[in-house]
Symmetry: C2
Subunit: 233 residues, 2 copies
Amino acid sequence: MSDSPSANLDRIDLLQCLTSDARAAIARQCSWRHFHPHEQIVDRSSDSRDVCLIVEGRVRVVNYSLSGREITFDDIESGGYLGELSAIDGGSRSASIVALTDTLVAFMSPRLFLETVTNNPTVAAIVMRRLAQIVRTSTGRIMDLSTLGANNRVHAELLRLAKAGLKPDGRSAEITPVPIHSDIASRVSTTRETVARVMSDLARDNIVIRQGNSLIIPDFGRLEEMVEEVRGD
Amino acid sequence: MSDSPSANLDRIDLLQCLTSDARAAIARQCSWRHFHPHEQIVDRSSDSRDVCLIVEGRVRVVNYSLSGREITFDDIESGGYLGELSAIDGGSRSASIVALTDTLVAFMSPRLFLETVTNNPTVAAIVMRRLAQIVRTSTGRIMDLSTLGANNRVHAELLRLAKAGLKPDGRSAEITPVPIHSDIASRVSTTRETVARVMSDLARDNIVIRQGNSLIIPDFGRLEEMVEEVRGD
């Protein structure tokens, strides 16, 4: 077990409902490991079935096409967990997990995970709600991929980022840091070149304005309308 | 409650682990309703949060684009259930549900569903495994939509159907009935015209042969290779 002062599971959302003694007992049964940025935490082709508890850092769930194109599924912050599918159904990994920052992971065996879920209906409810959330996000992405062009998907992703950075007045938004084009491309399944073109069009129309390390959306409603018009939300 | 002789929940997979008394008690608390083919069982925009137990018949999970294009997510046979997302997280419906055949549905309230899940870890495990399966299918579809052209997605869907109709020798496969072009189009997010063109190309190359009400795939391995080549499985 790591000797880092925060090497406990007290901030893992999934385990919040347990007593701190129960969390400490789980912590002792986990295997702990540090990862550097860009280091692979779980290889899609590996046989591991462990659930990954993200104690510190930030990680990305990704898959690669045959040609090497990266398709991003999710970013998970410290306090979250992932890799539960294989623990639940015993199946192979559905994606790879890569560290985005310095990351401390506690690996929980499938046996320990299932035991914890079975003995604690509140933990089971959290696992179900999280899976439901993944299904909803996936359904939205399948709809976007099936019905929107790449341009509109970039607008939709920008809207998603802007929502998180909406100012109190509800009129403008600030995205910090400026999103990396290849990250957007990987999230909406298009090329970096397409993202660059769409962003430059948006900048020309003053829908986005670059300001230092931030991207300002002066009229959030306008971007929202552009997306609603094609998505029909 | 319906007076149909099969109007009980004994064949619902989710509830197999309960005693028949417990199933009967749940059956009495459900609201029961018959649906005709093409009739809508759940409207995406409805406020209902009930879980649908499919006692008889077959149903389809669908969404529609702004232009009216139908995107199919899943077909559920009798014995299955669906609509659990809203019961689990209290959120809105993620899709509509339409009857494909004459269908008998038992609607289970979110309260009753959550109570059953909380009191029966085996039921909770089935719900988690089913959600995990939906996430895996969605991940595969997102990868296909992100990295394959429409032609290759039609090949992949045909392969999926052929796998279910693989002959004992493992060399050839039979798909019965002949799949409807618009059904394939809706499952792989393309147009009916594209499916018709791809199917006619495959027929010309003797990869599929129409025989009465069936589609014969004389060389399953060849179709499998065509898909693997682009998907990298």
